[in-house]
Assembly symmetry: C2
Homo-oligomer: 342 residues x 2
Amino acid sequence: MSRTELSSLGEFGLIRHLTEHFPVQQKSTILGVGDDAAAIEVPAGMIAVLTTDMLIEGVHFDLSYVPLRHLGYKAVVVNLSDVYAMNAVPAQITVSIAVSNRFSLEAMEELYAGMLAACEHYGVDLVGGDTSTSVSGLAISVSAVGFVEKARMSTRRNARKGDLLCVTGDLGGAYLGLQVLEREKKVFLESPGVQPELSGFEYVIGRQLKPEARRDLVQFFSEQQIVPTSMIDISDGLASEILHLERNSGHGMVIYEEKIPIAADTGRVAEQFSLAPVTCALSGGEDYELLFTVGQSDYEKISANPSVSIIGYVDEPESSSRMVTRAGATIAITAQGWNAFS
Amino acid sequence: MSRTELSSLGEFGLIRHLTEHFPVQQKSTILGVGDDAAAIEVPAGMIAVLTTDMLIEGVHFDLSYVPLRHLGYKAVVVNLSDVYAMNAVPAQITVSIAVSNRFSLEAMEELYAGMLAACEHYGVDLVGGDTSTSVSGLAISVSAVGFVEKARMSTRRNARKGDLLCVTGDLGGAYLGLQVLEREKKVFLESPGVQPELSGFEYVIGRQLKPEARRDLVQFFSEQQIVPTSMIDISDGLASEILHLERNSGHGMVIYEEKIPIAADTGRVAEQFSLAPVTCALSGGEDYELLFTVGQSDYEKISANPSVSIIGYVDEPESSSRMVTRAGATIAITAQGWNAFS
């Protein structure tokens, strides 16, 4: 593989080179890459939502097993997931990267190819950003803009007593995918000749490396004229997100262990790692599914959607969130003490 | 001074702690910090502009002489400058930071105090962002949103033959401020007992550490009903920005050396460093003044504004930008080969 030094293009040349193939798909994009700012015409009657996220090498990703193309795709998807969590439709993103000389132009092309694939898949436009040097490693900052009718916006605040608590897809897989990748990295570092043992783990690895955002749910809500009373995306594990909804709405949530959706593949891998699958779902994170509450009047519509599981309900104001186990015991849902600064 | 470890708050606690004192000043801010995304209601008839910028420790700033409070202020200002360069008025920002354990909570409070001061001064709302760990050092990513009537937006594209080329304020000071700070750092490293010699350099150091964005010019354009045919902010030096306008409009620009505004203090410091003041203005960067073109019919209004200097004019299509020196020679304006990747 050839290697072209980033210095051969310079900062302006690099960002032009990397972004020139991105098409403009959105009517709302008045002005894209290449000016002091992008210009966006928000459709009549809509409000704009804006989210931002930063990914740091060695903290959020490990390039020894994350292909750059997947990283680019995921960096976009995690932001779109936040837009969908507002019940909004994403339209534009900006991308800033800081990159050291260790990376070649070809590596950056891979990263942006992944971003382009995500932009094409979700119909969003790359409208701005910059490229600069870093002292070490790679940092990626993505911001995303989307639109939603004001009356259809879903915050974390408005869950009401008796609402159904629901989640899309299945949980815990992304965390186990990470465990597999970390294990194989360790094996490789100890015995460089040994091939990584990834067969049988395709599902959970895919959940870790190639997450998708739940565009389908927001489309479903629109078609069915449902407005969730609250919604949040699952980036830090089900327990953490439930506690966010509790704090923001002032209502505890009750969930049933047996209702938490866990894929068969996820359960099987969890066993191999001697982990309870439900623990992976509660505390694993990075599943990028949507957790939401709807009124009971939407029960029939919701239960007809095979991608949605009703896992519990919203309890009294000032109650505390808890899980009813398969054995019938009730246990408090607590933050899993994950603390990136410790 | 007390030191509180970041780990004592955790990631969610930290971002809450740092942002809870930011007031909401803009009617357009429907939802600020604390949800999956912020929600912004764009005023009727306006379009939104969006810009983003990332600052990396060791590349864009050196904490050995940049106070964190100033850094926070500047991180916001450089983004607002891009919004003003669209002839738009900034309204919201998001801030993501990645920070290592080396930093204390008190240090982060200083950084956010500077951001708060900028938000208050410019009337913008902090509406989102996140905090994460970094392997080393501090990275700050700011995005800014502003509003402008579509017909009043100024891009880099529409300079026409015969337009006046103008610049606000004075140039070259920020670059010389950086030279002074770098020199005193070197002296300090070689002789730690020696006090830094900063007196007499207040002006240029202030230009480097405490830049302001040219809100006044956008207000002036609005009051005077002027729409600049093109506009750009000066972050990389006058020469580089002129070449951006040339490439984007297809017209070369002619400037007169004697018209380039340079403060007396800047000229004096340049001499001490054996630098030509005009070189600092052309290639220095970080002045965050605005460079713009207006039709000749706006000559009287423009020349009545004491903050604006008319430095030249827009030439024929496909001409090349050049400077007429004090001695009457004409020299090509070239990019000053600054290449962060080399």
